[in-house]
């Protein structure tokens, strides 16, 4: 399970303020803290307050600052393709692009970028019509993305398909469809595509959010989830992931299994 730390995002006020005042302190602090907490990628997002014209420059700064003292690669998160490319251009190691949808014009923008920078890419199983309700329709969109990656020479195991979980208080029927999608997308190509999920989505606006996130994460792992964008400061969640990896025979058991998961 590759945990992608969600914290370096301009939606959080401390990060927004750091971006506006060009203060690297809080960004570096969250990079290091998430690294120690078990993150293996760091999501970086300028947030909505940055003017679209300035986003490329801000993303470049954000990636540089994040990687300055922290060895983790970034998951470059933006709806602005120019900002994504600006981040990719200065990134060290294997970046992840967050994200493309199954819309052809978007795939034509982002997938060649993944090929050019040898980056992984997140593919959302949605298009301009929105998020499909059924697993079958999600899988159909996933196939579109798989085909486009293949055509552009992006290895299918560099593709992280996100079946898009919706908040369980307003879209309760989606949970089982997402789990079924996770199972099915693994059969779409060889090597199988990877999978990911914006975990906090599942509990948006709900009570007891961490409990919902954690529970859905472990259920999803059992169905084939390879990574998640998540709050790695939830230590109970990280420990549960370590236990789940042992139970699924992904890590060889030893008494210090939580510690070894954190130290990998």
């Amino acid at each position: 399970m590759i945990l992608i730390g969600e914290r370096i995002n301009g939606m959080f006020t401390d990060i927004r303020d750091a971006i506006l005042s060009k203060d690297p302190g809080p960004i570096k602090m969250h990079a290091q803290k998430q690294y120690e907490a078990g993150a293996r990628y760091l999501d970086v997002n300028t947030g909505p307050t940055v003017d679209p014209k300035e986003q490329p420059e801000v993303m470049e700064w954000l990636v540089k600052v994040t990687q300055e003292d922290c060895p983790l690669p970034c998951c470059i998160d933006s709806t602005n393709p120019k900002a994504i490319e600006a981040g990719l251009a200065v990134h060290k190691g294997k970046a992840m692009i967050n994200s493309t949808t199954a819309d052809q014009f978007k795939m034509d923008l982002y997938i060649p970028l993944a090929a050019k920078y040898n980056a992984a890419i997140i593919g959302l199983t949605m298009n301009d019509k929105g998020v499909p309700k059924s697993a079958a329709d999600r899988v159909a969109l996933a196939m579109e993305i798989v085909v486009n990656c293949d055509m552009n020479g992006v290895p299918t195991d560099d593709l992280f398909l996100d079946p898009l979980m919706l908040p369980c208080n307003v879209a309760q029927e989606h949970g089982v469809e997402v789990l079924e999608t996770l199972r099915q997308v693994k059969t779409l190509a060889d090597p199988a595509p990877k999978t990911t999920m914006g975990l906090s989505n599942s509990s948006q606006g709900c009570a007891n959010r961490h409990l919902i996130n954690r529970t859905f994460l472990i259920m999803s792992m059992a169905c084939g989830l390879d990574s998640a964008i998540a709050d790695v400061y939830d230590t109970q969640m990280v420990e549960e992931v370590a236990a789940a990896r042992v139970l699924m025979n992904q890590d060889i058991y030893c008494d210090s299994f939580v510690k070894t998961y954190l130290q990998r």
Partner: protein, 313 residues
């Protein structure tokens, strides 16, 4: 249609351990399963050590005593003989320190070890007497006497690893982390040792192997699984594997039985027992073999050299 060769892509490799100072011996470093040269790097031939005892081993069968006639009461002469016989490493077993034998003092053990170290120009493995508590007394003193010689010392168990790890840290030796055929315990012991700051490239895993006919299948599976773990990135199972084959093979009734003409000549069959056990262990990931008979070293050298020829295509 052209045949597409399917190759496994591993993300990690086995760590390398170096023993000795001048004539060093390196083991490990494999980036795929044993001898699949076409898939990854197999940088080092499996290493063979011949055993020397600090007392005459009364219960060794005749065929394995015969090559050492006249030197078995003198560890220095015996060690030199082993080098002549082609051993890559000398494994000195301080058996006499066992309270059931002569209960030799740590100081006397250190003296013997030092004399052997000075007499040969190959790296040294120091094996304790088989009693955990006594080993924790003798090995620190021996380790100090051999300070800087980059020996391999053990076996360290979950009961005495602290003392032995400290010795290795202070005097620059590597450690044999020993656990009874249990991958979970092996991993945990490696974690405990590295937590004391001994680097992973100073550890070899001793899974306490059994001989052919005495649980070899189980050893094979455990070793294979830990190799797969290493290749998939499990750093706490990435150490080279130590196989003490000699003591197991020569304990087997197939090696010891004298009056069994229907099993073939004793010497031939006993040596084969050691050779076949070792070659099976090499196929499951063994890197270091402790042997007793020089003929086994000779036969295995031919076998391993053949296996080291590239099969790349």
């Amino acid at each position: 249609m052209a045949v597409n060769i399917v190759k496994e892509k591993w993300t990690s490799k086995v760590g390398e351990v170096v023993l000795g100072t001048e004539n060093t011996v390196t083991m490990g470093g494999e980036s795929t399963l044993p001898f699949l040269h076409f898939e990854g790097a197999i940088p080092h031939r499996p290493v063979m050590a011949l055993e020397v005892w600090d007392m005459e081993p009364a219960e060794w069968p005749e065929p394995v005593k015969e090559p050492f006639a006249g030197v078995m009461s003198d560890p220095v002469a015996w060690a030199k003989k082993n080098v002549e016989y082609g051993a890559d490493i000398i494994a000195l077993r301080l058996q006499s320190a066992n309270p059931d034998f002569e209960d030799t003092t740590p100081e006397k053990c250190a003296e013997t070890a030092k004399a052997v170290a000075e007499a040969v120009n190959v790296p040294l493995i120091i094996l304790g007497c088989g009693a955990e508590e006594k080993d924790a007394e003798i090995l620190p003193v021996v380790g100090e006497a051999l300070s800087g010689k980059n020996c391999l010392i053990g076996p360290a168990t979950e009961n005495n690893y602290k003392t032995l790890t400290a010795t290795c840290l202070v005097h620059g030796h590597s450690i044999i982390a020993s656990s009874p055929l249990d991958i979970n315990l092996a991993k945990q012991l490696n974690i405990l040792i590295t937590e004391m700051n001994l680097p992973a490239d100073k550890i070899v895993i001793d899974p306490l192997v059994g001989a052919l006919g005495y649980g070899i299948e189980y050893c094979y599976s455990i070793m294979e699984r830990s190799r797969l773990g290493a290749l998939m990135g499990d750093k706490m199972l990435s150490m080279p594997i130590f196989c003490n084959v000699g003591q197991e093979a020569w304990k087997a009734k197939e090696a010891k039985a004298e009056d069994m003409p229907e099993w073939g000549e004793q010497k031939k069959r006993a040596v084969l027992w050691e050779v076949i056990t070792s070659s099976a262990m090499a196929q499951s990931g063994g890197s270091l073999f402790i042997l007793r008979h020089p003929e086994s070293v000779k036969q295995l050298k031919v076998h391993f050299d053949k296996l080291m020829q590239s099969n790349e295509y």
